[in-house]
């Protein structure tokens, strides 16, 4: 894949309970459960590092309020616009 992925996500390992719903739900299958255990003894979800589209499905399937942050690649021309609108972070998905 040329250039950076359209989206990206970060997962808070301390908040993730390792339920695996995000892994199951991710349309491009770019999430996986980490083989190592978190400090709570679960395998937390993690981003494989490629193919994320920033669709946000994982965010809505995750039961934890803040475990997942979804990013989307900002087109350079629109970056300024997006940054100047604090409410712009909730573009509709699907």
């Amino acid at each position: 894949m040329a250039g950076p992925a359209r989206g990206s996500i970060t997962i808070d390992v301390e908040e993730c309970k390792g339920c695996g719903l995000c892994v199951e739900s991710c349309p491009p299958k770019c999430l996986e459960l980490a083989p190592e255990l978190s400090s709570y003894g679960v395998h937390p979800a993690r981003y494989t590092g490629h193919d994320c589209t920033g669709c946000g499905i994982c965010f809505y399937c995750c039961p934890e309020p803040g475990a997942i942050i979804v990013y989307r690649l900002a087109p350079p021309a629109k970056t300024l616009v997006a940054q100047s609108q604090p409410g712009g972070g909730h573009a509709a998905t699907l």
């Binding site: 950076p4 309970k17 695996g20 809505y60 909730h90």
Partner: protein, 500 residues
């Protein structure tokens, strides 16, 4: 929002290129006030549907800008701690009573967004009456009903929504309709009512249905914001722990087993005009009394200088003696004289001949409790009530006993006892029924707690028949005169009015 979250080191390089599209809603507290040390996680099990439902509600409230206007009513059940998470106004109420509490909140604060968040044990079992009647009244609240077909918090007992054949700790061989009945379909039940404006069932079974649930939650809140009426969203939700499934399987089970039993549908989506006829006049009690006084007579009652700070009167006798009515008369008199009053009746199921008593408080300040454990005045219309309540009277208090003399074996050292044969006096006047008014006359003359003129005003207002009103006037005077003359002449056990 990006600035509220710690961006991991490895991603700092891409934050220039990427913008945050989804992150923790500002509607959630940054840190949860949980009792344990896990303050950054919810208390829900991994894969629990409550977390998703919480996020959908939080996102909708944030996007609609309703955070500062929202009151969330937490139920009893796993979601009892919803107030740990939602940074809105929170109330946690008794099991099943969320719609009743929400009714009060919404009526008291009509400009607020009031949400009742309930589970299936809460809403469809112990709270069935509350939800049905709140819906039937068309209360302008939003109810989010999270249905996972089981009692989760208490350990997996059968819920009203448990599927036929589904095992639970209280239906270990599967739910049998012949013994436990069929699952309750709340959406269908509520959509048989006239008042609700929006009823939809959604499911957290897969990506698509979660996004439909998101739209339903948002729509319910938008409708409430517009003041449309009662909105209800049932959310079929997984309970991996109690179902004994892993989170992914549990979510699939919602789609495969629950949805066929609880079909997803918009059951109601229309505007409802609830007729608002026969609107009662919006007046306070004081205004109402004031208005009647002006209409009823031209002579205003001067606010009396009452000699007490507060006075507790207990009136006891048989049902039919006018015990409760006498209390009401006193309370209304007190109200007309500008006092704080309360009237608390206690009676059996019989309208006649059962024992009855009531407590009347007259006070210059707010009344703390309408129950009197140590009344200053006891009015005992019968010997039974006298024996029952005489010892309760506060030291130095007064007992007005509706018989000619005290029983020989009874001694009440702490109180002043006045005996007045009220029934006999009333009978001579024309009707034994006015014995309670005779007693009222005696009470007013003896204690001077309220003015006899006020008593007449209240009676004029209550008694429309002129002949009966005249009888009441005579009875009131007779009671007062009896105290003035007969008691002074030694009709009580002791000449000074005090028992030994």
């Amino acid at each position: 929002m990006a600035e509220n979250n710690v961006i991991p080191e490895q991603l700092k390089t891409i934050t220039d290129q990427y913008e945050v599209v989804h992150s923790k809603s500002k509607l959630f507290y940054p840190e949860y006030e949980r009792k344990s040390d896990l303050k950054h996680q919810t208390h829900y099990c991994p894969g629990c549907g409550h977390g998703v439902a919480h996020k959908l509600i939080a996102e909708a409230l944030e996007d609609l800008g309703l955070q500062d206007q929202t009151i969330l009513v937490s139920p009893v059940g796993c979601s009892v701690f919803a107030y740990y998470y939602f940074d809105v106004g929170n109330v946690q109420v008794a099991h099943g009573r969320a719609p009743a509490a929400a009714t009060g909140l919404k009526r008291a604060c009509p400009d607020k967004i009031v949400i009742a968040y309930q589970g299936d044990g809460d809403l469809a079992a112990i709270g069935t009456a509350e939800i049905v009647h709140a819906a039937n009244r068309g209360e302008k609240i939003s109810v989010f009903f999270v249905n996972n077909a089981i009692y989760g918090m208490t350990g997996g007992q059968m819920a009203p929504t448990t599927l036929v054949g589904q095992r639970s700790t209280t239906s270990p061989w599967g739910r049998r309709p012949v013994n436990e009945g069929f699952p309750l379909h709340m959406c269908e039940m509520l959509s048989s009512l006239e008042a609700p404006v929006y009823i939809e069932r959604v499911a957290l079974s897969d990506n698509k249905n979660i996004m439909k649930a998101r739209r339903a939650v948002r729509k319910a809140l938008e409708l409430q914001r517009a003041g449309a009426g009662f909105t209800f969203v049932e959310i079929l939700s997984p309970c991996p722990t109690i179902w004994g499934k892993d989170p992914v399987e549990a979510r699939k089970w919602v789609g495969e087993k629950m949805i066929p039993q609880f079909p997803l549908n918009v059951f109601r989506d229309h505007t409802v005009e609830i007729p608002n006829n026969n609107v009662p006049p919006h007046k306070t009690v004081a205004e109402l009394v004031e208005g009647e006084r002006k209409a009823g007579s031209d002579t205003p009652i001067h606010r009396k200088h009452h000699h007490f700070r507060d006075l507790g009167i207990k009136i006891a006798g048989f049902g039919g003696q006018g015990v409760l009515l006498l209390g009401q008369l006193l309370a209304e008199m007190g109200m007309r004289e500008g006092l704080e009053v309360s009237w608390l009746p206690s009676y059996g199921p019989e309208m006649r001949s059962g024992s009855a008593h009531c407590h009347v408080c007259l006070a210059k300040d707010r009344i703390g409790s309408p129950v009197l454990s140590r009344p200053q005045v006891l009015i005992a219309m019968t010997e039974i009530s006298l024996r029952k309540f005489a010892t309760q009277v506060a030291p130095g208090g007064t007992i007005i006993y509706g018989r000619e003399k005290l029983p020989d074996d009874l001694s009440i050292p702490q109180a002043q006892v006045i005996c007045i044969p009220a029934s006999e006096i009333a009978d001579k006047l024309g009707s034994a029924k006015v014995a309670n008014v005779v007693i009222l006359g005696a009470l007013l003359e003896e204690t001077e707690c309220l003015s006899p003129a006020t008593a007449m005003q209240v009676l004029e207002n209550k008694v429309k028949n002129p002949a009966l009103l005249e009888l009441d006037r005579k009875a009131l005077d007779a009671g007062r005169l009896y105290i003035d003359h007969a008691v002074a002449m030694g009709a009580v056990t002791q000449a000074d009015g005090f028992a030994q």
